[in-house]
């Protein structure tokens, strides 16, 4: 598709020489001076566009060429309009005057010229002027202007209002409110255009215009909407489409609760809407042909009493109700079925806006929303339509005293479990969560229970939704869920593999079990292991933090370690773990944090075997173990038993080096009476002994086969830890000295089996000697090795000893003139 030809064209366009370009400009000017602008001119203009747009840096056109192009904006040929608009958008404007000239003749303004004006607007004033003129143009009588010429007006206005709601004055807003009411509710219900296809001799009266039809072919019985069809369309029907297309944004911009002051106060509004609904229920439907006339428009007459803003709201309400009814019809074309879905979403969103602005309308709206929900809730293909409905329930369910339990169950339990692989649903559902966290916590706090289900989106398409989870995770971590979340995050790659297997097992026939690469699939289908996978696929929290046979699961999924989805998932887990730990320290009490340390120790050896995954997780664990212990030093004494068990297992030095190093470090640093008064001499001694044993073991022989020599950092950390412990219990000092002298002797021979690099060995021995010398003065050793906190935190001017010199220095500088 993308050919070398295109690439070279772009290259040529970028590298065109200035002289050649000037020649091209002058040739183009000559071509544009001709009366008839033919293919050659069009091609040249197109080439000029390529040259201008291929570069990041703008080129300025010669002014005579620019003048010619401006003239083309009002050319009768659309192609020339398009090209000149595109070209002028690519170059900086020479001055604003020409643009102002165009703007003055609004009746000649076409959509392409308007696009140019909008994109080159330099300030809000430019946009305000344009808006004023466009609204003015809309006010004229339909017969005064040719059909369809101002149809682009609404889109242009909308594009400006997106960024500059102040560009319309109150008066303009009122005019547009009235226009919208006309177009939305009172557009012609007869087909336009085609109905006048009578023969040359047939008078207009002999051909009756046909009414518009619904999408299923039946005749329309009520006012015109976007879901009505005809052979041709009248102008106001077109404006109906354009108005509805921007209605939601219009309501959000100018009708939101905080903006403007309504002329009616709340009591009046309530009274009026109650009277409307009263008249609605009193309508004797037997008098009307119920199958054709929609029930909605029966109340339209009473709303003429309302001011324009409220009237538009009422009409918007009626329009959306009608759309929802129309969506129940079976469309004849597939594209229309898709449109119906989009219309349902839009209708519900607009009704939500309307009800937010005027809560008294909730009672009138809820019945149809409820009906829509029950109609669609069993069909997963309408999942994306059900999300706005859920939003409606969230916003107004409490007011209407409606039970929303079934809605949350559908959205949080069903959708992620069944539709985790729909990227659009994932995006919209997670956005719904993000935008409504506060509301959900208030009105549906149980949504947190469904966290394992929500994580399925992350496990499936990590790179697409990780951003959403970065935002969501802090709110989902609570005291109750913290431990389970940690386990679930660590096993996210397993979940990822399981989801892949789940989809594969549905699509592949059972007989294909012996083919290559499907060992995990066999396991997935095997009843003996069903429980493991079902646990991963669980929908709610509360059924345990993790499973006993985790290592079995990891073995079964070993083959999945190189599947792209699993690899991507493994890459996002460390990021989320950082966020997790940052959050948990703020919500967790001591007991929880202690438990987390245990989980870290346990899980550091229990991870799915993806290359670099273990290393990354160990890095995260080490970092946060350190932070946790720094924050709550008493945790070390509290969990000393488990920490010592971990530190005493020599195998951990080789398989979990980084975590091991940090465990040893925290033991050395915080196992003291200063951190926790429960720390006894016996505890310090037993810790010392444990570490000493390991140190002796790793420095007396070569590492076991299959592992590398421990990094110098491990050994020096062990040595420092021993020294720190000894400085607290001086009886241990002789034992330390013994070790260091042995070390020096062993190193004097040159190389040792447990250290590959000579320089490293020298560094280790040097460190050992430093510690040994330090321990010769036991009193000093303690303060040097474990300085008290106030020494470590610089207090600068707050420290009276340090402050004086600083103050004197400042005063001296100020008082001396040099």
């Amino acid at each position: 598709m993308y050919s070398l030809g295109s690439e070279s064209l772009i290259k040529q366009a970028r590298e065109i020489q200035e002289t050649e370009l000037q020649k091209f400009y002058s040739r183009l000017v000559k071509l544009l001076q001709l009366k008839e602008l033919g293919h050659e001119t069009v091609d040249s203009l197109q080439r000029l566009h390529l040259i201008l747009s291929a570069n990041k840096y703008a080129r300025t056109l010669p002014s005579d060429l620019q003048q010619r192009l401006l003239l083309l904006l009002s050319s009768p040929s659309e192609q020339l309009q398009v090209l000149s608009s595109a070209l002028l958008r690519e170059t900086p404007p020479s001055s604003g005057e020409e643009l102002n000239n165009i703007q003055e003749n609004v009746s000649q303004l076409n959509t392409h010229a308007a696009a140019l004006l909008v994109s080159q607007a330099r300030s809000r004033t430019d946009l305000n002027n344009l808006c004023a003129q466009l609204v003015h143009g809309l006010e004229g009588r339909p017969s005064d202007r040719p059909t369809r010429s101002l149809m682009f007006t609404l889109p242009v206005l909308n594009s400006i209002l997106r960024l500059s709601r102040e560009s319309l004055t109150e008066e303009h807003v009122t005019i547009l409110n009235k226009k919208f009411v006309d177009w939305l509710r009172y557009a012609s219900i007869l087909q336009g255009g085609g109905a006048s296809l009578g023969g040359f001799f047939t008078g207009p009266r002999s051909r009756q215009p046909l009414p518009t039809a619904e999408l299923d072919g039946s005749v329309s019985g009520d006012f015109f909407t976007v879901l009505c069809v005809g052979q041709g369309f009248t102008e106001d029907q077109w404006m109906n489409v354009y108005s509805f297309s921007m209605l939601r944004h219009w309501l959000l911009t100018y009708h939101s609760v905080s903006s403007g002051n309504s002329t009616m106060d709340a009591a009046n509004r309530l009274q009026l809407s109650l009277s409307l609904s009263h008249s609605f229920s009193n309508d004797d439907q037997s008098e009307v042909d119920g199958s054709v006339v929609s029930m909605v428009s029966a109340t339209s007459s009473s709303s003429r009493l309302l001011p324009p803003k409220e009237r538009l709201r009422e009409k918007a309400f009626q329009y959306c109700q009608r759309l929802i009814e129309q969506c129940d019809r079976k469309a004849q074309k597939k594209s229309d079925t898709e449109l119906q879905k989009a219309c349902m979403v839009e209708a519900v969103c607009i009704l939500d806006c309307v009800c937010v602005e005027d809560p008294s309308m909730v009672f009138r709206t809820f019945p149809s929303i409820k009906a829509l929900f029950s109609r669609l809730s069993s069909d997963l293909s309408y999942a994306r339509v059900l999300l706005p409905i859920a939003q409606f329930y969230l916003n107004h369910g409490e007011m209407a005293a409606v039970d929303c339990e079934c809605v949350w169950k559908l959205v949080f339990a069903h959708f992620p479990a069944e539709l985790f692989n729909d990227p659009f649903l994932a995006h919209e559902l997670l956005r719904f969560l993000r935008q409504n966290l506060d509301g959900l916590r208030l009105r549906a706090p149980e949504f947190i229970r469904f966290l394992p289900n929500l994580l399925k989106f992350l496990a499936w398409d990590s790179s697409a939704v990780v951003d959403d989870f970065v935002d969501l995770l802090p709110s989902l971590v609570t005291e109750g869920t913290a431990v389970e979340i940690l386990h679930t995050l660590l096993d996210l790659p397993c979940l990822s593999a399981t989801l892949v297997l789940q989809l594969r097992s549905v699509s592949l026939p059972i007989s294909e079990s012996s083919s290559r690469g499907l060992l995990p699939l066999d396991a997935f289908r095997n009843p003996a292991f069903r429980g493991l996978f079902l646990f991963l696929l669980r929908v709610e929290t509360g059924s345990g933090h993790t499973i006993d046979r985790l290592s079995t699961l990891h073995d079964l999924l070993a083959e999945a370690a190189d599947w792209p989805r699993v690899v991507r998932c493994a890459q996002v887990v460390p990021v989320l773990l950082h966020i997790y730990f940052n959050t948990v320290v703020t919500v967790g009490q001591e007991k929880l944090l202690a438990h987390l340390i245990l989980v870290m120790l346990e899980r550091s050896g229990l991870l799915l075997a993806i290359p670099t995954y273990s290393r990354e997780i160990h890095r995260v664990f080490s970092c946060h173990l350190l932070r946790l212990c720094k924050l709550r030093p008493s945790l070390v004494v509290d969990q000393s038993h488990e920490l010592l068990e971990f530190a005493g297992t020599t195998a951990n030095v080789y398989s979990k080096e980084e975590v091991y190093t940090h465990v040893v470090w925290v033991l050395g640093e915080y196992l003291s009476a200063a951190s926790d008064s429960r720390c006894s001499v016996a505890l310090i001694t037993s810790c010392f002994e444990t570490l000493e044993a390991v140190l002796f073991e790793i420095t007396s022989s070569a590492p076991p086969p299959g592992t590398v020599c421990p990094a110098p950092k491990v050994i020096t950390t062990l040595m420092s830890a021993l020294a720190k412990l000894a400085s607290r219990s001086h009886d241990l000092i002789p034992r330390v000295s013994l070790f260091f002298s042995k070390l020096r002797t062993a190193a004097r021979n040159g190389s040792v089996a447990w250290c590959a690099d000579e320089d490293d060995l020298v560094a280790i021995v040097t460190r050992g000697e430093e510690l040994w010398f330090l321990l010769k003065a036991p009193g000093v050793a303690q303060s040097v090795l474990t300085p008290p906190p106030h020494v470590l935190t610089p207090r600068w001017h707050r420290d009276t000893n340090l402050a004086m010199p600083l103050q004197l220095r400042v005063l001296t500088r100020l008082t001396h003139s040099q």
């Binding site: 993308y2 909008v118 594009s159 069809v229 041709g232």
Partner: protein
């Protein structure tokens, strides 16, 4: 409202580094948000244009990476297509949505819908309150028209040399970035207009 529509490469391009994307067509809608922001600094028109181009490149790069990750994860192989296969290629196309945070690069959060057709990506950047279901349909429709009218499955460079056709298409189906609720009759009427305009 849609902020921009892009056609860009999602395959490796020789002259560019691995993650970069060549933008073949870009159209931004609406006033430049820089003009209306409360920033102190005034930008010259050249600087504004440069900023816009940079924003477009950022979007193209993000989509490029999303497309390649998605294709890698699904493990599907790309089958070479020839002119005539347009409908098939469109059915087979990868699709997805990328979330752009506020400020990166647009001032508010955007949902960027993309369609990966062989070596090219078709992208729509939508604002928060846009109807994404509708946007998805419109994107597919636009892509189909581009593939057909610009013979994009061939080796030609019409996407570069006949960009005015895309402009005309956008002016009807996505005027000034407005997503339109068009049933098949309205759509037919507009498509006829586009066809007759392109024929001239």
């Amino acid at each position: 409202m849609v902020r921009c529509f892009l056609i860009h490469t999602v395959c490796p391009v020789g002259a560019l580094s691995a993650g970069e994307s060549r933008v073949l067509y870009s159209r931004l809608f609406g006033p430049d948000e820089v003009v209306l922001s409360k920033q102190q600094r005034e930008f010259t028109p050249e600087e504004r244009r440069l900023l816009q181009k940079e924003k477009v490149s950022v979007v193209a790069r993000r989509v490029r990476s999303a497309v390649s990750l998605s294709r890698e994860a699904s493990g599907r192989q790309l089958v070479d297509a020839v002119p005539g296969d347009e409908a098939l290629v469109l059915l087979d196309a990868d699709s997805g949505v990328v979330r752009l945070r506020a400020g990166d690069p647009f001032s508010e959060e955007m949902s960027v819908l993309w369609l990966g057709v062989q070596s090219l990506g078709f992208t729509l950047a939508c604002e928060p309150h846009d109807n994404l279901l509708l946007a998805e349909d419109i994107l597919r429709n636009l892509t189909r028209h581009c593939l057909d009218n610009l013979h994009m499955l061939g080796q030609g460079s019409e996407v570069l040399l006949k960009s005015s056709r895309i402009d005309v298409l956008l002016s009807r189906l996505l005027p000034h970035g407005q997503l339109l609720f068009l049933n098949h009759r309205f759509a037919q009427s507009l498509e006829k207009e586009v066809a007759s305009s392109m024929a001239k």
